[in-house]
């Protein structure tokens, strides 16, 4: 038997000390280490809240507060969350009683007088189911945490991409603006020559000087862009 199952918290609630004694002894013999017993059902809810048992062995017919009352109360305050198994103990073997118990929140039932082999097998099965459910819950939690971590990483990576995209857009804009200035001068000069023909108001040598200066400026800007692109490629490769 797995240690986790052997160390499961088990609470036995029955107003008959003879019954609780039989069950406690059986559980001890079978190696369960964490067994508590209550005969006064008025203290049941307090004990459940305190111990937070993995398995409740619950007698149905008890004075003052019955097993049904306890299940109803657990249901009402949201304690029947699926992480605590309830095995009801009942002398009433009628179909209605079993159905009522199962509908009330019980996971299984045992009919008195106890068949100890059956009792032990049902307890073992319920604790194993409970163990698997809790494992699953833990794994889900781990997965959820991993998803959260991965999502946060993706959000950060996305933010970084947006920032670098903005920066690239800014660089592209600045470069195109710098390119556009000498180009605009060249276009203006070309139009001037085209439309004025022989009647140029400005000295042709002066125009050629401006064309040369603008072309040199343009060449410088383009070389600068090429160098930056080359550096950027080297960095990314």
């Amino acid at each position: 038997m797995k240690e986790e199952i052997r160390n499961s918290r088990i609470l036995v609630i029955d107003d008959q000390p003879a019954n609780t004694e039989i069950l406690a002894n059986l559980l001890n013999i079978k190696g369960y280490t964490n067994v508590s017993v209550i005969n006064d059902s008025t203290k049941a809810l307090e004990a459940i809240a305190q111990l937070s048992p993995d398995l409740l062995l619950l007698d149905l017919m008890m004075p003052e507060i019955s097993g049904f009352d306890i299940m109803q109360h657990l249901k009402d305050n949201g304690s029947l969350n699926g992480w605590m198994e309830i095995l009801v103990l009942t002398a009433d073997a009628t179909r209605e009683s079993k159905q009522k118990a199962l509908a009330g929140g019980a996971n299984d039932f045992i009919v008195k007088p106890f068949d100890l082999i059956e009792v032990e097998l049902r307890i073992k099965n319920l604790l194993f189911t409970n163990y698997l459910l809790k494992q699953l819950k833990n794994q889900n939690q781990i997965l959820e945490e991993k998803i959260k971590e991965r999502t946060a990483e993706l959000v950060n990576a996305n933010q970084a991409l947006i920032s670098s995209n903005d920066a690239l857009r800014e660089i592209a804009w600045t470069q195109s603006h710098i390119v556009r200035a000498p180009l605009a001068r060249l276009l203006g000069l070309v139009t001037l020559i085209q439309t004025e023909g022989e009647d140029l108001e400005i000295n042709p040598k002066e125009i050629l000087k401006h064309i040369g200066n603008s072309a040199t400026e343009l060449d410088g800007v383009i070389r600068d862009i090429t160098n930056k692109a080359y550096t950027a490629n080297n960095i990314t490769n």
């Binding site: 603006h177 001068r185 276009l187 203006g188 001037l192």
Partner: protein, 134 residues
């Protein structure tokens, strides 16, 4: 022409080319050229004809005082409402268009080199017609 036209640009070549285009297209016969915004500002401050309408073809990227600082200064001097502006730049920065929303006195954007078609569009525009008729 019942208005004065100033061109403010730190690039002398553009002043020459733009003036030629303005005169040749008949948009304006006597545009005045200013190589820096400070001189243009001094000229506007000393105008002794307060009713004379003025249009400024204004470059944005200039050393010392840029186009935006020039407009801010005009606003501080309470001169802005008498003057309309056309921003003339090598390329129109979308950011400039956003800033321009603060200045209803800006009635147009032109990209260098300006040509007769741009000037025709500008002169036929509603904002320019309003400027002429006020």
């Amino acid at each position: 022409m019942n208005y004065e036209l100033l061109m403010v640009d730190d690039d002398e070549l553009f002043l020459v080319l733009n003036k030629r285009e303005l005169v040749k297209s008949g948009f304006h016969l006597e545009p005045k050229s200013f190589l820096d915004a400070e001189n243009a500002l001094t000229h506007l401050k000393t105008l002794d004809q307060p009713d004379k309408k003025t249009l400024v073809f204004l470059d944005i990227n200039m050393p010392q005082m840029d186009g935006w600082q020039f407009l801010k200064k005009l606003r501080e001097l309470n001169l802005l409402q008498k003057i309309r502006h056309v921003l003339v730049t090598s390329s129109t920065d979308p950011k400039d268009k956003i800033i321009a929303k603060d200045y209803p006195e800006i009635i147009g954007f032109l990209e260098k080199p300006i040509d007769k078609y741009m000037l025709k569009d500008l002169s036929e525009g509603e904002a320019f017609q309003q400027f002429l008729n006020t």
